[in-house]
């Protein structure tokens, strides 16, 4: 149930640092086609723009092909024919074709950037909106850190694929087709010779990719092991030092480090094989064209300009082939990421409000709980037949050992989880028949972890009631005994907690939480008292603030402080999900039951 607020994203930032995609990391989507289809859905609103982009890409790819053709023409007809005006005309035409091609390329890129980012924005917004509807159970079962890094990495993978690849894929395919057609039109012998390159290239790429992927997978595994050894050793350095195990730890690190080295050399050696191999292939291609072309030229079958054109085409033909291999990996990663994002979007939201749910305006705070049943996992009930009454304004202290089910009661009251049996009524209305928003607005929560936002102190208090004025916030802080320490902060109420939320003590954080709850002015208060002790002065302030907060409200307190328990109207002792005793502190002590034993063990020794 613990969910720790991590200090603002250092780790996240680290994980966000872009790394070049490594083939070994590629995960495949389970159903790539479905993921692709759903991803494409986000592009549908930009149908028209996408068609424009396709048009532009077509134009710039074709214009790009015009250049080499014109060059060949210039060499043969005008240089060979010693026609200077014609040469200049052709040169101007070439320049025009090239520049136009580049301009169209820029336009296509600009359009695509806007399309892809806006589509991505919609995906992020949808994901976030959906997160808001998910039940507390989802957040309790997904660790914040893991969820966070998953979301950022997955979205990033999609981003990389969508923003960079659509155009290169389009233009690559178009250019290749265009070149093929042009070559066949110009000279089918040379074109046929050029075709040999495709199977060789494909084979090379596949050969290298197989080993590279295996190598990187191995490297990834070794790196993972190294990192876990390192992380454990760094986090536990103080203990390692205390037990003088540094040498042993260094030795085991060295061993893993060496394994990483070997794996890295292996993987990279294969990965870097691709470049020289394709390089050789490229020049092989040029050589084939030159020698075959030379022979054909000698026979008078082709012109010198044609050879130049072909060499130029040949170079343009190989590079998209090389890119396609990279594209494939990046698209795979994107699809795997998309699948996980969709998995979250597909997670069923919290139980919806009943259609007949009535808006609730004011709540007095009479709470009646009958025969409550609940289990997080079927078969292990946490709450069994729990019944409890609280009159408006009463304070109920929930007491019991860890795991007794105290927090669960609170989860059910707030409808973070839905009870599986029994009923909770507030002012006589079943809470399931209320709108969740109304219910929660009438409840005020002060929890142990005192979550604060990376914002100013003022805004953190105002979170309790967004329309509250500055004066009201300050007044709430004053009531919560927080005003005093806030004024001592560097910028008082305007102090930003983003960087150094950590420099507030637990007690101070709690006082801010209380301020927030006071400002919200709920009819019912739910309080999970902090177990960790704070310094005596702050402790006294907290007690005073809590008393003020509880006054006039129905309060449920998971109590750890003796003073709270003693002042409660009713102490409810819970064990294994059931109420074992209830009554006032004194009554329970007199009864010499479970509470008495708990109390004695808690405060043992004080009889001295």
């Amino acid at each position: 149930m613990a969910y720790e607020p991590t200090p603002m994203g250092k780790d996240i930032r680290a994980s966000m640092q872009r790394r070049p995609s490594q083939p070994g990391k590629i995960e495949k989507a389970k159903d790539p086609r479905l993921a692709m289809a759903r991803l494409l859905n986000y592009l549908i609103p930009y149908k028209v723009q996408l068609m424009l982009v396709t048009g532009f890409v077509l134009v710039f790819s074709l214009l790009g092909l015009g250049g080499p053709y014109l060059m060949g023409l210039a060499i043969d007809r005008f240089i060979g024919g010693k026609d200077i005006p014609g040469l200049i005309r052709t040169a101007a035409l070439m320049l025009g074709a090239y520049l136009l091609s580049n301009i169209f390329q820029v336009i296509a890129n600009w359009l695509m950037a806007s399309i892809s980012q806006n589509a991505l924005k919609r995906l992020r917004a949808e994901l976030f909106a959906h997160l808001q509807t998910l039940s507390m159970g989802f957040f309790d079962t997904h660790a914040a850190g893991g969820l966070m890094s998953r979301l950022t990495n997955d979205i990033d993978a999609i981003n990389q694929a969508v923003s960079q690849n659509v155009i290169s894929l389009l233009s690559g395919v178009l250019t290749m087709t265009g070149i093929l057609i042009a070559m066949f039109v110009l000279n089918h012998w040379l074109a046929l010779a050029s075709l040999i390159v495709i199977p060789i290239m494909t084979w090379f790429t596949r050969f290298v990719a197989t080993y590279t992927r295996k190598g990187f997978r191995d490297l990834q595994k070794n790196l993972g092991e190294l990192n876990s050894v390192a992380e454990e050793a760094i986090a536990g350095q103080k203990v390692i030092k205390a037990f003088r195990r540094n040498d042993a730890v260094i030795a085991s690190f060295r061993e893993r480090n060496d394994a990483v080295f070997k794996a890295a050399v292996y993987a990279n050696s294969y990965a870097l094989l691709l470049m020289p191999l394709t390089g050789v292939l490229g020049s092989f291609f040029v050589i084939v064209l030159a020698s075959l072309g030379g022979w054909l030229a000698l026979e008078g079958l082709v012109s010198v300009g044609m050879i130049a054109t072909f060499i130029n085409y040949g170079q343009n033909f190989v590079s998209p082939l090389r890119q396609l291999a990279n594209l494939y990996n990046s698209i795979q990663a994107a699809l795997a990421g998309a699948e996980r994002v969709f998995e979250i979007i597909d997670t069923a939201p919290e139980v919806a409000d009943l259609p007949e749910a009535l808006p609730i305006k004011t709540i007095r705070g009479d709470v009646r709980i009958r025969d409550l049943q609940f289990a997080y996992t079927p078969g292990t009930p946490i709450i069994k037949n729990f019944s409890l009454d609280a009159a408006a304004g009463q304070t109920i202290a929930l007491v019991g050992p860890t795991g007794a089910g105290k927090t669960t009661i609170i989860n059910l009251l707030t409808r973070f989880y839905e009870a599986q049996g029994g009923v909770i009524e507030i002012d006589g209305i079943d809470i399931r028949k209320m709108r969740k928003a109304d219910l929660r607005r009438s409840l005020g929560l002060v929890l142990q972890d005192n979550f604060l936002f990376a914002d100013t102190v003022m805004e953190n208090i105002r979170y309790g009631r967004l329309e509250a004025s500055d004066e009201e916030c300050v007044e709430a802080a004053r009531m919560a005994e927080a005003d005093h320490f806030i004024r001592q902060l560097p910028q008082g109420y305007q102090t930003n907690l983003s960087e150094r939320a950590g420099n507030l003590s637990q007690g101070q954080r709690q006082l801010l939480s209380i301020s927030r709850a006071i400002l919200a002015d709920p009819a019912i208060l739910i309080l999970d008292e902090a177990t960790s002790s704070v310094d005596t002065r702050t402790e006294l302030r907290i007690q005073k603030a809590l008393l003020r907060l509880m006054k006039g409200r129905t309060s449920f307190v998971i109590a750890h402080r003796l003073s709270t328990i003693r002042d409660a109207d009713k102490v409810v002792v819970i064990d294994s999900g059931e109420i074992v005793e209830q009554g006032s502190h004194q009554e329970l002590l007199d009864a010499r039951g479970f509470y008495y034993r708990l109390y004695v063990s808690q405060f043992k020794g004080n009889e001295i």
Binding site: P5, I12, A14, M16, I75, A91, M94, Y98, L99, V106, N109, A113, Q117, R124, A125, F128, Q132, M136, F139, M148, L226, N227, E231, A233, G236, Q237, K238, K241, F243, R245, V249, N257, D258, A264, N268, L272, M275, P276, G279, F284, I287, A290, S291, G294, W295, L298, V304, T414, F416, R440, A454, Y463, S533, D535, L562, F603, G605, N606, E607, I608
Partner: protein, 595 residues
């Protein structure tokens, strides 16, 4: 620049291999640059002269050379990989060893997260920097220079016309690259902002739900999302304009060559083959320029990482062990003394540092238990960390058996001190491995004896595989109290002369805590115990209780004395237990059978 020099230190052991790699690179560039000249030869000498022998022999030569070039390239990449990966390995090891030598003071300045980033991403960034330098980073300028030279050789007049073009494109590249970095940084900030909102939303889900703030959250996220999208679109548009812009320069160059070269060729001053060769060289000049812009990122990141890594490598350990260190005299009695000890963090900037401990004087006789009580931040943990020299006192001295700890060797010092730290850290491995962490060779009976004293034996036996149960990451499969008890057993196994328990029973219930204390009286007979606690029940039976408040000792004595004499102690007592004891006494009345 200094950082690069330090980096060079890591390359030095592999300098021969690095030089070999660079030599291969030069060979590769030379071979590649020869190809266009051979093409020119085929055209001019072969086709024009209708000499098939020249065509074939030149082609054969070209093929041979490109095969050579590939071999050389493979040699280059393999040696550069080895150098770069060796550097990365050595760097990781150096960082790791350095961290292992850190004292608490150093660790306070670097979080685990940061150190991990240094060890992983920063080391890889440096590795990429080295590898790039040995490959494309050197190859690109080399082939650029070579191409320019060969352009001049092929046709000086044509080459001269290319000079302004090259200069302009160089300027454009510099302008693009210099504007890229700030744009990227701005987007990164927007991304961080978005992630912060998301992170807070996930971590604070309970709060968001209970205050029904989904709308406000969506608004916050929406704002950040819009910002990020706008920023990213801008960067992408900027970036995607660069490549067409540079391609335009290449294209203009090609057109110029065809035009001017063509005119010259018509005049007979230039051959067709030369024109073709020239265009190839032109391509070979500008392409590396484009590549360099992509490399500039790798360079910048690598240098920034090198700098950050150096911060770690240059950090001086706060605690320095003297060379002529002594060992404690056996048998060690465990008498402990603090003599007017002051401590403040950041020893070097004395004026800003606030004292954490002030004028601490205390003495613990061998075999006695001394307890330190105080609120969070009162300096308790710091105080006990001075004993094993995790920190060094800023003034005054800490002595064991009359010898200043600063004069002791770390081995001897730590060998006689058993510590149960506040934060329970267990390691991956079995429960048994964890208990005998300090002495992997310890026998079975020793392990169980220590576990029994720590009241851990019973629950360990109840685990699925007893002592062989594997402890999950961060002890996930054990409760807080169980972890603490394993940590206590771990410290006990060493049979230390001084045992330090830093709030190490906070998650253990009071009943078990009492049992542990009783067992320790027996197990640790004769050794000194220092117990730090927040909970008053932990300290009740100590021989001496010291009350710390804001770094000073405000009271000292036994429980009963302190209740009477120290208002601070009384205040803590009341706030924790309230009138509980009185009530209990009244309640129990005469039923108590005395003490």
């Amino acid at each position: 620049m200094n950082d690069v020099k330090k980096l060079f230190h890591f390359v030095k052991p592999y300098s021969r291999k690095a030089l070999f790699s660079l030599a291969m690179l030069v060979a590769m560039v030379a071979l590649d640059l020869a190809v266009p000249r051979l093409v020119a030869r085929i055209i001019d000498k072969g086709i024009k002269q209708k000499d098939m022998a020249v065509v074939l022999s030149t082609s054969a030569l070209m093929f041979f050379m490109s095969a050579m070039s590939a071999c050389v390239a493979v040699l280059n990449s393999n040696s550069s990989i080895r150098v770069a990966e060796s550097v990365a390995r050595d760097l990781r090891e150096a960082i790791f060893v350095k961290i292992q030598g850190f004292s608490y003071g150093n660790l306070d300045r670097f979080s685990t997260g940061i150190l991990m980033v240094r060890l992983t991403s920063d080391a890889s960034a440096v590795q990429r920097l080295v590898q790039v330098s040995l490959r494309i980073g050197t190859r690109a300028p080399l082939s650029m220079i070579g191409s320019i030279v060969l352009m001049f050789v092929t046709s000086p007049t044509l080459a001269l016309t290319m000079v302004p073009l090259l200069l302009v494109s160089a300027v454009v590249i510099i302008v693009f690259s210099s504007r890229m970095e700030p744009l990227f940084r701005a987007v990164q900030q927007k991304l961080d902002r978005l992630n912060t909102v998301l992170q807070e939303n996930i971590s604070g889900a309970r709060l968001v739900k209970s205050y029904v703030r989904a709308d406000r959250e969506a608004e916050r996220f929406g704002g950040a999302n819009d910002d990020l999208t706008d920023g990213t679109v801008k960067v992408m548009q900027f970036m995607s304009s660069m490549s067409p812009a540079l391609t335009s320069f290449i294209n203009i160059g090609m057109v110029l060559v065809i035009w001017l070269g063509g005119v010259q060729a018509i005049g007979g001053k230039l051959s067709l083959g030369q024109i073709v060769a020239f265009t190839n060289y032109l391509l070979a000049t500008l392409n590396p320029l484009i590549m360099m812009t992509q490399l500039s990122n790798t360079w910048a990141n690598g240098l920034a990482s090198a700098k950050r890594v150096n911060e770690i490598l240059d950090a001086e350990p706060d605690v320095v062990v003297t060379v002529s260190a002594e060992a404690l005299h056996e048998p060690v009695a465990g008498e402990l003394r603090f003599d007017a000890v002051d401590f403040h963090y950041d020893g070097d900037s004395g004026q800003t540092a606030q004292a954490v401990l002030e004028n601490i004087c205390l003495k613990a006789e061998p075999g006695k238990t001394i307890a330190i009580l105080g609120a969070t931040g009162s300096g308790k943990s710091t105080l006990i960390n001075l004993i094993p020299r995790f920190y060094d006192a800023s003034r005054g001295g800490v002595a064991i058996d009359g010898i200043d700890v600063k004069k002791l060797s770390q081995d001897s010092l730590l060998g006689h001190i058993g510590i149960v730290p506040q934060e329970t850290i267990l390691f991956s491995g079995t429960v048994r491995d964890n208990i005998r962490y300090g002495r992997p060779g310890a026998g079975e009976e020793e392990v169980t004896a220590a576990a029994k004293a720590a009241q851990a034996h019973d629950f360990i036996l109840a685990l699925p595989r007893g002592y062989d149960t594997r402890v999950e990451e961060r002890g996930g499969n054990l409760s807080g109290g169980q972890k603490q008890r394993v940590a206590i057993a771990r410290a006990l196994l060493e049979r230390p002369s001084i045992l330090i328990l830093d709030d190490s029973t906070s998650s253990v219930d009071v009943e078990t805590e009492t049992k542990i204390q009783a067992a320790l009286d027996d197990y640790m007979k004769g050794s000194t115990r220092v117990v730090v606690a927040q909970r008053i029940s932990t300290v009740l039976n100590a021989d001496t209780i010291i009350v710390l408040d804001q770094g000073r000792i405000v009271a000292e004595g036994k429980h009963k004395e302190l209740l009477r004499s120290s208002p601070v102690y009384k205040e803590i007592y009341d706030s924790q237990l309230g009138g509980g004891s009185r009530e209990l006494r009244n309640l129990r009345g005469g039923e108590r059978h005395g003490l």
